[in-house]
Symmetry: C2
Subunit: 324 residues, 2 copies
Amino acid sequence: MIKVHLQFDLEPEQVTRLTKLLEPSVWLSLGQPALPADFEILVHGFPTREDLLASPRLHTLIIPWAGVPLETLDLVKEFPQIAVHNLPYNSGPTAEMAVALLLAAAKWVVPYDREFRQHHWGPLPGSGQGCVMLAGKTALILGYGRVGQGVAKACRGLGMHVVGVRRTPAPTDPEDVYGSDALPKLLPHAAALVICLPHTHETSGLLGERELTLLPQHAVLVNVARGEIVAEEALYHALKARRIFSAGIDVWYRYPPRHARGKARPTPPSNFPFHELDNVVMSPHRAGWSAETEDLRITHLAALLNAAAGDEPMPNRVDLSRGY
Amino acid sequence: MIKVHLQFDLEPEQVTRLTKLLEPSVWLSLGQPALPADFEILVHGFPTREDLLASPRLHTLIIPWAGVPLETLDLVKEFPQIAVHNLPYNSGPTAEMAVALLLAAAKWVVPYDREFRQHHWGPLPGSGQGCVMLAGKTALILGYGRVGQGVAKACRGLGMHVVGVRRTPAPTDPEDVYGSDALPKLLPHAAALVICLPHTHETSGLLGERELTLLPQHAVLVNVARGEIVAEEALYHALKARRIFSAGIDVWYRYPPRHARGKARPTPPSNFPFHELDNVVMSPHRAGWSAETEDLRITHLAALLNAAAGDEPMPNRVDLSRGY
């Protein structure tokens, strides 16, 4: 028997689905403040120190999405007895959204739609033709995990040449995957720069003003990873001054209070007015959303918990020294 | 020596480029009303009967884009001595725009951007998650020429299963290309329906109310061919009633007067208020636009004219009985 405490908003029908999928030997408790004293597994993305101290038997923390928040990563390192796992269940929708944002930004789909709803047909002033071609050019993909490899496949289908960058190129990677030290040499060739890296101390600010300046003027930048990977002010100014062609951005610099999305007062996602720019496609951190994959989250979570109950190895363990 | 009359708006720098590319034996005249009496080749998309009667030596009409307007097709059939050629130079940008519209529509990129510029983070009311997944589903591509095959490649890169429909499947086509009689059987399986057909008498109204009803509710429709191929009212109602998920539409039912785009008074593109719908991405017939390929138009035109001057066969001849 294994005791699991779930501190993570789930719709009632998802809870029902989860309980049906679990082995009888998994005992599930839910919600605050009823923290049981002896749980062994905690499902929670942003646990406090108190949460991690609440049960002496706690040996596993499951982050119920892909990636580990930096604050959680730093906290859990103080508890060497706790293993961290995550649920990268939504890499499929994230990769598709990255490609959607890339193409929408490359073709200025949003401002052309807006003006055409006012029945204006001509080219938008200042947009050129509002179009860079991707075929035949280079897609530079930062982070060559599940999401990055999905984006790579789509970019090849668009006739692009794909170059990947990852912390540690694997022997099974295709030839064109490099370590991050190659970045300064690669950036000047990137027509598309798609950021799919995990957010770690190493990747924070990886793309600063210097790196953005290396991009060609026709470059399209896409970020579906974490805002902090790209320097906020430098990105804003590069877009405003048209030093790059456009960007599709799903991840930001300021967020509404946790659990208040949709209910909170309007929260600007940046200290800079990205919303005034025509050459940015703005997306409210929803790349991973998909009604079709919400079920997958539950399926993956059940698989992890059933593995633990059966004393089998749990998949998707996070290497805390790497941060992913 | 061959005399060519060009009745088609070109920027001065494009004219310069064209004259530089032409063999000395090509004589070029430009612009109305100075129609010379003895030109042999006319470059014009919408010639009048008078234009075609203006020179007894006229033997070739070049449409300076892909496809032939139906009215031009019908008119030129009265002149069996005139061969028609076209310039499908912009199939590359058109295919990319089709994929951009497909993804933007599948992910509701436009209304999410609009609301997020007001700093609203939550799911849009009535959008579900504003996302259908394409991976693992079927893309049905109507018209399997240059554009359709480009779209097919991109859809395969997105992990879709591709089925093509063309008038006459060729022996070299992959297995999953069917004749248009298969349409009723194929439509219920189409998660994406991408229309890249030439507009002919046969394809006018090919997708009527009955055909649209056969699509599944999660279907995304994209039209980069010609508006008339899809029944206007049926499409509007299918979108408004959410009988299909969304659409990305580049080609319309009402146009501003010719040569007045950008200058004309706002012209609604339909008799129905598509602009009130959140589940349509609206694009002002610009799929083929691309500053990078305008040069290609000139290069292709020069190649045709130089071939004629050298008494070599001219490429891209239109089969008037098929209409493309």
